[in-house]
């Protein structure tokens, strides 16, 4: 018989945070929200409080010597989550400044207990707890007494069945605040770092008793809506073979460019990632748009992360029509200091809401430039994670990669993304009879036969028009091909 105690999880109301916590906040836990000034501790605490508090779970928010209460209320009510209707009934603010100033832990504890007995909250916040600790050191009271106080506080509040948060300006989880951190069941560590001109916020669940969390640092943003966390990994199950989505999805997707499906051995396998690499002007975005348009034609929704042009800026008329027709969703990529996790979160949310099957990232170069500098260092690893998550969701991903034409070597991506993807199409310029001509080849389709031919192509009003194979031509990849016998014919239109 399994008679283990069940620890209920309380949804925190913060997007992404519950995933980090393994499903939510452990009820009756004793937590610390730590971080440097301005890292978002009070905002995080308020947002959780307003989300979790209600008639059945009231909240007491003790303010100490940190931010003055009136200022805190003045600024916190600017956030969307601040619900004035909950004040007094479900949420009550109490100032402990006078008790703390006297440095008498017993009196502070007594006041907290009195207020808790009177209001009977299910949630208790003490902000800033660091002020209590500092008052202890200034009055000559030792760390032992502080530890005793924290133990007593934890014991009383757990007895009163209150989930508790101590909020404090702790810069380091490991050192100075050990006595407090030892007692805590959970530690939320918030940090913000400046790298060149960009500022990035990250959160770490440094400790969480009795529940599995997602380890590591996770980026978060603070907007008018409050805190939004972007978990570094997303647990997404692959769709099973028996799901309706899997049944209606073809094993191969038509890519929307005539003859290219044939070159790929019958289309792009569903759930694959495809890298389209080529120099500027070679038609990568046109190919990507055709991929989305073909999806729209067969009733498959698409999502595009366009880093070359932001939403509202002029896209290609064809893509604009797809977006306007509701066939393709566009994620906003204009935020400053973007992180891969924030982009991935936006993509997965839009894929879920639209049930999209096709995803385009245009381009990796633009994506890298949109990222805060600190995230560029891990771009390759992050790309790997992103591709894994998107394909695990059952989408087929087309990524565009800007490629400098180098005739001395054959490269597909400056990010080493080639090995991360299941298929590769490469586009190049070649010089022919005093003109620049374009050639394209399918380099790789994992576990599939495909054409190895280099094909000339043109870009016309209807998109990419691929010509016939030219086995008579040599040295195409040197940039200066030549024919052995026959003259070069013009491109051929695809049948049908």
């Amino acid at each position: 018989m399994n008679d283990k105690v069940v620890i209920p999880r309380i949804p925190t109301g913060i997007s992404g945070l519950d995933a980090l916590l393994g499903g939510g906040l452990a009820e009756l836990s004793f937590n610390i929200i730590a971080g440097s000034p301005g890292s978002g501790k009070t905002t995080l605490a308020h947002q959780m409080m307003f989300a979790m508090a209600g008639p059945q779970r009231k909240a007491l928010y003790f303010t100490v010597l940190g931010e003055p209460s009136l200022k805190m209320l003045r600024y916190q009510q600017q956030y969307d989550f601040f619900d004035v209707a909950k004040i007094d009934h479900d949420i009550r603010f109490v100032n402990l400044g006078d008790e703390v100033l006297q440095g008498d832990f017993g009196r502070v504890l007594q006041r907290i207990i009195e207020e808790v007995e009177r209001f009977e909250p299910g949630l208790v916040f003490v902000d800033s707890f660091r002020s209590v600790a500092q008052a202890a050191s200034e009055t000559g009271r030792g760390i032992v007494e502080l530890q005793h106080f924290v133990q007593q506080l934890g014991m009383h509040l757990t007895s009163w069945q209150a989930t508790t948060f101590l909020i404090g300006e702790y810069m380091d989880v490991d050192s100075e605040a050990n006595p407090v951190f030892t007692i805590a069941d959970g530690i939320f560590f918030l940090m913000q770092s400046l790298h060149r001109n960009s500022m990035v916020r990250k959160v770490q669940i440094a400790k969480s008793r009795g529940q599995a969390t997602i380890a590591g640092l996770h980026t978060f943003r603070i907007t008018d809506s409050g805190v939004q966390v972007f978990p570094r990994t997303l647990s997404i199950a692959r769709p099973s073979a028996g799901t309706p989505a899997a049944e209606v999805s073809p094993s191969r997707l038509a890519i929307g460019t005539p003859l290219l499906d044939e070159m790929m051995g019958g289309g792009l396998p569903a759930g694959y990632s495809l890298l389209v690499a080529g120099p500027s002007g070679s038609g990568k975005s046109i190919l990507a748009t055709a991929f989305l348009a073909e999806g729209a034609r067969v009733g498959e929704k698409g999502v595009v992360a366009a880093f070359e042009k932001g939403p509202g800026q002029s896209q290609s008329p064809r893509l604009e029509a797809l977006v306007a027709g509701g066939h393709v969703g566009v994620i906003d990529t204009r935020a400053l200091d973007l992180s891969i996790d924030a982009t991935l979160y936006s993509l997965t949310e839009l894929i879920r809401s639209t049930r999209a099957k096709r995803v385009v990232i245009d381009s990796l170069s633009g994506f890298e430039l949109a990222l805060a500098p600190t995230f560029r260092e891990d771009f390759r690893e992050s790309l790997h994670r992103m591709v894994a998550v998107l394909t695990a969701m059952g989408t087929t991903v087309l990524m565009v990669s800007e490629l400098e034409d180098r005739y001395a070597d054959l490269r597909f991506s400056p990010y080493g993304a080639a090995f991360l993807t299941d298929a590769i199409i490469v586009q190049r310029y070649v010089e022919m009879q005093g003109e620049l001509r374009r050639v394209m080849a399918v380099v790789k389709v994992r576990n599939s036969a495909h054409s190895h031919a280099l094909r000339f192509y043109d870009i016309g009003a209807e998109g990419i028009v691929i010509g016939a194979p030219r086995p008579d031509m040599e040295a195409l990849l040197t940039g200066s091909p030549h024919t052995s016998v026959l003259p070069v014919p013009g491109p051929q239109r695809a049948p049908g």
């Binding site: 009136l70 007094d88 109490v94 100032n95």
Partner: protein, 136 residues
């Protein structure tokens, strides 16, 4: 602050025929109730600071603290001084002081939160709204 809200706060002290003592007592009761709501929220020293700021804004000649006189003593002194005035003057001074505190709170934490405090402190019904938030 609107006249009807002030009348509600002053209770019997708002009557035309109320004597200065009654007006002063009711003013102190209203002020004490509102400060009583504020004290747990902001602490004693912040409540005292808000009271002193209200005195300044109302251009009241009521007693200023000589040192760190407690808020309770300041309120006793305020009552004594208000009671020495003519009843109309007491009503005007008390009203100005209460209005100043309410307006100050509205400017700091906004109308909805201030109204929540007035509901508890003065028993202001839901329909009776405090003054509009001042425009900067």
């Amino acid at each position: 602050m609107r006249p009807e809200l002030l009348a509600h706060a002053l209770g019997a002290g708002s009557a035309e025929d109320a004597d200065a003592g009654t007006v002063a007592t009711e003013t102190l009761r209203a002020m004490g109730a509102l400060l009583g709501e504020l004290r747990p929220l902001v602490g004693d020293s912040a409540a005292r600071a808000l009271y002193l700021r209200s005195l300044h804004l109302a251009q009241s000649h009521a007693a200023r603290p000589v040192s760190d006189e407690p808020l309770a003593d300041l309120l006793v002194a305020l009552r004594r001084e208000l009671a020495q005035l003519q009843s109309a003057e007491t009503r005007a001074a008390g009203g100005a002081l209460l209005s100043a505190l309410v307006d100050l709170l509205v400017s700091l934490i906004g109308e909805p939160l201030t109204h929540r405090m007035l509901r508890t402190a003065w028993g202001v019904p839901l329909a009776q709204r405090p003054p509009q938030e001042p425009h900067s």
